[in-house]
């Protein structure tokens, strides 16, 4: 990488369950090709997938942007959507506003944000009700 950063961007569409997870899959392959350690690649992929599913489940549209630096990977997921009224509550395991058809797919159990916190080295969230949500995940390569 010679100290230069590489940024990739993936658009996300709300309620598009057909391709849900494909952006995370591409990011995973990209990091593998760049020679990032498998343990780090796995954590990035899991964080991306949870963030991607959140956009598909809750928002209208969004974009996932991944920037790979020599020493870390940063993922920013921004969406236009309903936002989160109570972030502290959303960060608690088990709290969810997802409807039943989402739960039937194996998601919506209130684990998304807690999982993102768990798998990343840095986590930040900004949200505005009626506007959308921006999540930043940071992963150190070492």
């Amino acid at each position: 990488m010679n100290g230069r950063e590489i940024t990739y961007e993936y658009p996300l569409t709300g309620a598009d369950f057909e391709t849900a997870g494909e952006a995370s899959s591409k990011i995973k392959r990209l990091l593998q090709q760049l020679g990032i350690r498998p343990e780090v690649v796995r954590r990035v992929a899991i964080g991306c997938y949870e963030a991607e599913m959140n956009v598909i489940i809750h928002a209208w549209r969004g974009v996932m942007r991944v920037t790979v630096y020599s020493d870390r990977t940063e993922v920013i997921v921004e969406d236009e959507g309903p936002g989160i009224a109570d972030v502290d509550l959303a960060l608690k395991e088990g709290y969810s506003t997802a409807p039943d058809h989402i739960r039937e797919m194996g998601f919506g159990a209130g684990m998304g944000l807690p999982n993102m916190v768990k798998c990343s080295d840095e986590f930040a969230i900004e949200t505005e009700v009626g506007k959308g949500t921006r999540i930043r995940l940071g992963f150190r390569h070492q």
Binding site: E22, R42, G106, P114, N115, C119
Partner: protein, 119 residues
Amino acid sequence: MTLAEILATLKAEVLCGREWLDREAAAACGADLMSDVLAFTKERTVLLTGLTNAQVIRTAEVSDLVGIVFVRGKKPGQDVIDLAKIKGIPLLSTSYPMYEACGFLYVHGLRGCSQVGDQ
């Protein structure tokens, strides 16, 4: 335990990925909640599940799972099987229900994710 041994233990059938049955599973996880799989499994885990949608395949891909066993005779649609082929994830189906399938593997020595060390 290899996937071939899991196949025999569970009297399962192969839905796709016969060529990958020599893969070794370090641990197993029984779950229908994909967020739990994402949060708690380790690499080279085999997943036992009753869910048959595409999200199971995606979850297996991002979590580096070694394969998926569908319990209680469940089988996903062809679109999901095709996705698994593309992603390189072998799929098995057993007629045993979840509890029994997990129990058979456990008594044959396959441990749970909390019992194996970090990779």
